[in-house]
């Protein structure tokens, strides 16, 4: 205890130095938790984008279709028969499901053509399974008997379309024959998902199936649950639906979002690297501080050795000092980081434009941070360990001076 008291007092000898190094530790910690919070927030946004607008919670899809879905082929489809619908209705915690036909088409306004993805889906289902209604900026989502199209505001603007205009879709059927579909625009949306806003056109299911000659077929069936509990639902589907149809598979939203998983992992690693750099600098700082302190106190050390203190004791004092710097830094860092994360979680930060290409994630709305206690625990523990390790070498170095040399050599 005496040694601890001594070490603590020693830290006050040169407050500026102590504080400087502690601040470096603090910044490392604060940066880490804030970055982590932001990445989690982005991840959450993106996952929500995928769930709310693309994949729902689960998808029922032919396994062969799943592997080639980027091509939007019109083969390996799901047959929507009564039996399937009955089974689907019984999926636990189901909110709703929507069979859809996705196909590639050109949107044409008489002057220009743009390749987009067309989605044929029932109006009612669309409302329940996707969050499009909340993001309507004009008009309405069609219901099952109407025959209008809904597209992103951006796309409409690009093609000079307004509500009431007729857009032309040009596409090829499964047999490769060109076909066209003229549809009135009844609604415009502006969602957080840029994929939807700029590359997608929704038309009623029956129009798509007729134009493509795909009666009662779907490229996939999207399911939305009441909550995030996909496991139970997935098991149910596996046992009751897939069991009977070899090629069908059920995929969760996470399977659909594989690229985002990869990207956030990259960002986690980035975070670790940057924070480690901070802590490396701090470690160097600590080593520096202790060596300086030892040089300044060399006579005291000699004195204490003369008085009979063992090297062990001297090492302990210096290590406690190093640890102390780490602890002070951790405290400061937790405070700074805590404030930062609080601010991010409640007020968010607008990252649109700033990070499109850098982060690799499309972001349209304000990003809110996520409070992640384990990030704090991780980085603080790491900082303390680094502080301790950094102080070992200089502490040994300081303690090894022989008392005579320390006190001033021969006379």
């Amino acid at each position: 205890m005496f040694l601890v008291r001594l070490a603590i007092r020693n830290l006050t000898r040169n407050k500026k130095r102590t504080l400087l190094v502690a601040l470096i530790v603090a910044f490392g910690i604060a940066f880490f938790v804030m970055f982590d919070s932001l990445v989690l927030g982005l991840e959450r946004n993106y996952y929500n984008n995928v769930i709310d607008f693309e994949s729902g919670h689960l998808q029922l899809v032919d396994d062969n279709y799943w592997t080639t879905q980027a091509e939007l082929p019109l083969s390996d489809l799901i047959a929507i028969d009564d039996e399937l619908q009955q089974s689907l209705a019984q999926v636990p915690e189901l909110k709703s499901y929507a069979p859809q036909i996705r196909f590639s088409a050109n949107i044409n306004n008489g002057l220009d053509e743009l390749p987009i993805t067309a989605v044929g889906v029932d109006g009612d289902r669309k409302k329940d399974v996707f969050k499009l209604e909340e993001h309507l900026v004009a008009g309405e989502l069609f219901s099952a008997d109407q025959s209008g199209a809904v597209l992103g505001e951006n796309l409409a603007q690009l093609m000079d379309f307004e509500i009431g205009d007729y857009l032309l879709l040009v596409f090829t059927t499964q047999e490769g024959a060109f076909n066209t579909l003229e549809v009135e625009i009844v609604g415009l949306v502006n969602t957080p998902n840029p994929q939807i806003n700029e590359h997608q056109v929704y038309i009623p299911y029956h129009k798509a199936s007729t134009a493509l000659n795909l009666k009662n077929k779907a490229t996939e069936v999207i399911l939305r649950l009441e909550n995030n509990n996909v496991i139970k639902a997935k098991e149910f589907i596996k046992d009751n639906i897939i069991a009977g149809a070899d090629d069908y598979g059920v995929y969760t939203w996470r399977d659909s979002a594989q690229d985002i998983v990869a990207i956030t992992e990259v960002h986690s690693i980035e975070n670790r690297i940057i924070s480690s750099l901070f802590l490396l600098i701090a470690a160097v700082g600590i080593i520096n501080v202790i060596i300086l302190a030892a040089l300044e106190r060399i006579k005291e050390i000699g004195m204490m050795k003369a008085m009979g203190m063992k090297e062990e004791g001297i090492i302990k004092v210096f290590m406690i000092e190093g640890l102390g710097i780490g602890l002070i830094g951790s405290l400061l860092g937790s405070l700074m980081g805590g404030v930062g994360v609080y601010w991010l979680s409640n007020f968010g930060i607008d990252l649109t434009g700033a990070i499109d290409s850098d982060f690799g994630l499309p972001v349209i709305e304000r990003t809110y941070g996520v409070f992640n206690p384990s990030a704090f625990t991780l980085i603080i523990t790491f900082s303390i360990v680094i502080s301790l390790l950094a102080s070992i070498f200089p502490a040994y170095w300081a303690a090894c001076k022989s008392p005579i040399d320390a006190l001033g050599g021969t006379n």
């Binding site: 006050t12 006579k299 005291e300 003369a306 009979g308 021969t410 006379n411």
Partner: protein, 228 residues
């Protein structure tokens, strides 16, 4: 056998290719309660001799006996233990720990012994601090004290554990003559009251006058040993 005995103690330092003999075949005995000064010009080997006596260093040849036990076979930690339990040191630079109070600086010596209760420690520390005339300064930090007062703290620290020998290396070197006298007075008093053996190196004539025995060193050898 006296308290301290040096038998044919030699200390040779190597500086590159050159060997320097700091001490050459010194023989010395010091008894309990002595107040001995080691005098000599610089380079005569005073500090080296003191280091031997203080078990801070081991002789190249010869042996140092402290209360009959030889030190040349002891390792670093054993020597430290020896010093801890038997020796007190006073240096010309005081070497007080600036972040500790007067009380704490003195207390440090006892804390190292580990076998005293806090109550005992407090008693003993206050006693010695008062004895050197600093009873009211117990909570002051060294930078609030004069040179003389700081040296008195060093003395208190050296004495608090009632060591067998107190070794002082030029204890008055940084003090003016008036203060030097004060400090000397304290050391003499302690020597008389506690019967602690004092051995100090000095070339201050004032100090030599107070000493009852003066050992003169030149070129690493004792040339005179006067008792007066």
């Amino acid at each position: 056998m006296g308290l301290l005995k040096l038998e044919e103690v030699e200390k040779i330092y190597r500086q590159g290719e050159i060997e320097v003999a700091a001490l050459g075949g010194v023989n010395l005995e010091v008894g309990k309660g002595e107040f001995t000064s080691i005098a000599g010009p610089s380079g005569s080997g005073k500090t080296t001799l003191l280091n031997m006596v203080g078990c801070l260093d081991k002789p190249t040849t010869g042996e140092v006996y402290l209360e009959g036990a030889g030190i040349s076979s002891l390792d670093k930690d054993q020597l430290a233990l020896l010093r801890r339990e038997n020796l007190g040191f006073i240096f010309q630079g005081y070497n007080l720990i600036p972040v500790l109070t007067v009380y704490e600086n003195v207390e440090l010596a006892l804390k190292l012994l580990k076998d005293r209760s806090n109550k005992d420690i407090k008693e003993q520390v206050m006693k010695i601090i008062t004895a050197v005339g600093l009873g009211k300064m117990a909570d002051r930090k060294p930078n609030e004290l004069s040179g003389g007062q700081q040296q008195r703290v060093a003395i208190a620290r050296a004495l608090v554990k009632e060591p067998k020998i107190v070794l002082a290396d030029e204890p008055t070197a940084n003090l003016d003559s008036e203060t030097s006298l004060d400090v000397l007075e304290v050391m003499v008093e302690m020597n008389q009251k506690l019967k602690t053996t004092f051995i100090f190196s000095t070339h201050d004539p004032l100090v030599m006058e107070s000493a009852r025995r003066v050992i003169k060193l030149k070129d690493g050898e004792i040339i005179a040993d006067e008792r007066g």
